[in-house]
């Protein structure tokens, strides 16, 4: 079982991590002062008593932007090691990176054409599906109504 020896540092690190977390929580529990109070548990300490849960609304676009960001971030991450050993890779590396960048670029054009970066009410080049009369506004209104807000 000599092959398992190399796992020892990982195991030690794991134990250390668990210990550290347990220690942090345990110590703060033991040493910290605890004076619970009803007002402290309320969402708004300034005095407004919440009556019902509000629908949490924010545009799904945020997610899209975040995902697109991740994709381009990864492109950069790929470019970085290539740049570091550019000399050794030579022409092969250059061609590979151009192909890679080209693929990402085509995807980018696709995203732009699809309206993924448009902000605001729908002006998308191609809508998904064919439901007539369905716009961003109508969707917003419906979500609002479903959320139970009194008009």
């Amino acid at each position: 079982m000599g092959s398992l020896d190399s796992y020892l540092p990982i195991f030690v690190l794991l134990v250390l991590g668990v210990l550290f977390a347990a220690l942090s929580i345990g110590v703060s529990r033991l040493l910290g002062p605890r004076r619970p109070h009803a007002a402290k548990g309320a969402p708004y300490e300034c005095g407004i008593v919440p009556t019902n849960e509000l629908p949490r609304r924010f545009p799904v676009r945020f997610y899209l932007i975040a995902m697109i960001f991740v994709i381009f971030d990864i492109e950069i991450i790929f470019l970085f090691p290539w740049a570091v050993i550019y000399d050794q890779l030579g022409r092969f590396g250059l061609v590979e990176v151009i192909v890679f960048a080209g693929a990402v670029f085509v995807s980018f054009i696709y995203l732009v054409a699809d309206g993924a970066l448009d902000w605001g009410p729908a002006r998308r080049a191609r809508s998904f599906g064919s439901e007539p009369g369905r716009t961003t506004e109508s969707a917003v209104r419906r979500v609002g109504a479903a959320g139970g807000r009194a008009e």
Binding site: S3, I85, D87, A125, R126, F128, E131, R142
Partner: protein
């Protein structure tokens, strides 16, 4: 730059890459870029048929490239490339051909469905091509890491495709379920890779095989645990009982042509890697894993067939039937012989066309909205659409294993492989499950040819599209179903392959017999 230069290894060896050997995959991926590029550059949306035609052309080009590769392999022998992590042998190229065929048929069938549902865009086709390239890479991968990457390339587009019909909650549910369980199984798979690597010191299949052949590991707990996890990971992908729980929900929820594509492609890709890893790499340990596969196969055969009996929804029923089919393919794996591998490969080929065709019919019967999948929707179909009913009967009987179809020879071949490996009991279990399976295939056939109406109105009620959060019931009059020309073409191809190679199986059987691994 200078501070980082020290990090670079001195004298980096760039592996030799034989691009012609990777041509089919490269064609598919290049085709994806062309597809999305075209879709981005055209201001007005193109009809779905344009994308379908392009996809068929791309897949046909991949098919031609694969066949050329087949000729090279048969004439000049198998070889590896990209530092031995890609195998180009008969087995791999067989699956390249199969995947190309699946893509062609799926594109043809899908276009009719998308037109009917009014879903525009190139996404279906692009995702199918990416997934296809993943399946191809799975078949040729010769390295566990590479298999994992290919598995993800195969799976991720399928998750998206399952949730493709955004307007249907079931489709979304299918996508989420498939994604979560798929990601989970991938994690299990990676853990298995890690353990195998830990035990053998390599992720490269031939190196692992050589290590196991030359070393006797006395305490092989880590290795066996790794193999067990690999089995679990693969079993998830190919939907073997007891790792099949996602299958019925996903097959039911996904848009119907996607279900057919998914069933054909994921099984082909998953089993290709499953067979290569276990038969070509771990034959020395067969004493340890063969009984596990035996049990898996038996459970899958019987479980799939029995649970299918209770289904009212045809898509769920076919999902369980596909589980039953997975059991048959596992029999070929369980044999651990060249014949067994050939039998499994044949089964996957036959199954691909049967399942693509079957789900195409289900998609047609589902009508606009893709909702009518209850058994009752099939009542009296023969009177309304006689040709469609005949086609579906042929496909279902072929799945049941009736002679003069590929389905029969597929079953015969795996049974022969199983008996050849002295697994008589498994052969009996398999045929018993086939006999059970006949019941639910025939039930559909019976309904189609039944002339007794269920209710006098002869109308079916299905939940309509949700309006304002309230589901309303709309009555869809049962009339003659419209079969899109492209779907008719796809069905003709599926039935043609099923029947022609059922009557004249010689070429396909020779093809599978030549589809062998390179044993290093």
């Amino acid at each position: 730059m200078t501070p980082f230069a020290a990090l670079a290894p001195a004298g980096l060896a760039i592996p030799h890459i034989d691009y012609t050997a990777l041509l089919p995959e490269l064609i598919l991926l290049g085709g994806v870029l062309v597809l999305i590029g075209v879709s981005a550059m055209t201001p007005r949306r193109l009809p779905t048929g344009v994308y379908a035609t392009m996809t068929v052309a791309i897949a046909a080009a991949a098919l031609v490239a694969s066949l050329r590769l087949w000729r090279d392999v048969q004439n000049h022998g198998a070889f590896t490339t990209v530092a031995h992590s890609v195998d180009v042998d008969g087995f791999a190229v067989y699956f390249l051909v199969l995947v190309s065929c699946i893509l062609i048929v799926a594109a043809i069938i899908g276009s009719g469905y998308l037109r009917r549902e009014g879903i525009a865009g190139c996404e279906y086709y692009a995702l199918a091509l990416i997934s296809g390239s993943g399946a191809m890479l799975m078949a040729s991968a010769n390295d566990l890491i590479f298999i994992f990457l290919a598995l993800e390339v195969l799976s991720i587009p399928l998750y998206v495709m399952a949730g493709f019909d955004r307007r249907r909650p079931t489709s979304q549910e299918a996508a989420i379920k498939y994604f979560v369980l798929g990601a989970f199984s991938s994690a299990v798979f990676v853990y298995g890779i890690a353990l195998v690597y830990g035990a053998t010191g390599s992720t490269n299949l031939p190196e692992i095989g050589a290590f196991l052949a030359h070393n006797v590991i006395t305490a092989n707990g880590v290795l066996l645990a790794g193999i067990a996890l690999l089995i679990v990971g693969f079993s998830f992908k190919v939907a073997a009982v007891p790792f099949h729980m996602w299958t019925p929900d996903v097959y039911q929820g996904a848009p119907t042509p996607v279900t057919g594509f998914m069933a054909a492609l994921a099984k082909a890709g998953g089993f290709a890697a499953f067979l290569r890893v276990f038969v070509a790499t771990f034959p020395t340990l067969r004493g340890d894993w063969q009984p596990v596969i035996w049990a898996l196969a038996a459970l899958t055969l019987v479980g799939g067939a029995i649970v299918a009996l209770a289904q009212r929804d045809v898509k769920r029923m076919l999902a369980y039937s596909s589980i039953n089919h997975a059991g048959f393919v596992l029999i070929g794996l369980q044999a651990v012989t060249t014949k067994g591998v050939a039998a499994s490969a044949y089964y996957l080929f036959a199954y691909a066309f049967m399942v693509l065709g079957s789900f195409a019919v289900v998609g047609v019967v589902g009508a606009k909205g893709d909702r009518r999948h209850d058994l009752e929707a099939y009542r009296g179909l023969a009177a309304r659409n006689p040709v469609l009913a005949t086609v579906f009967s042929v496909l279902l009987l072929a799945q049941a294993g009736v002679p003069f179809t590929t389905g029969f020879f597929a079953k015969f071949y795996v049974i022969a492989a199983s008996v050849g490996a002295h697994s008589y009991a498994l052969a009996v279990v398999a045929m018993a499950s086939a006999a059970i399976a006949v019941f639910f295939y025939l039930r559909v056939v019976l309904l189609m040819y039944s002339t007794q109406p269920a209710d006098p109105g002869d109308e079916a009620t299905t939940p309509g599209p949700a309006g304002g959060g309230v589901a309303t019931l709309v009555r869809i009059p049962v009339g003659r179903l419209v079969v899109q020309p492209s779907i008719a073409l796809g069905l003709a191809v599926s039935v043609g392959v099923t029947v022609v190679f059922g009557v004249w199986p010689q070429p396909l059987i020779d093809f599978t017999r030549a589809a062998t691994f390179i044993f290093h």
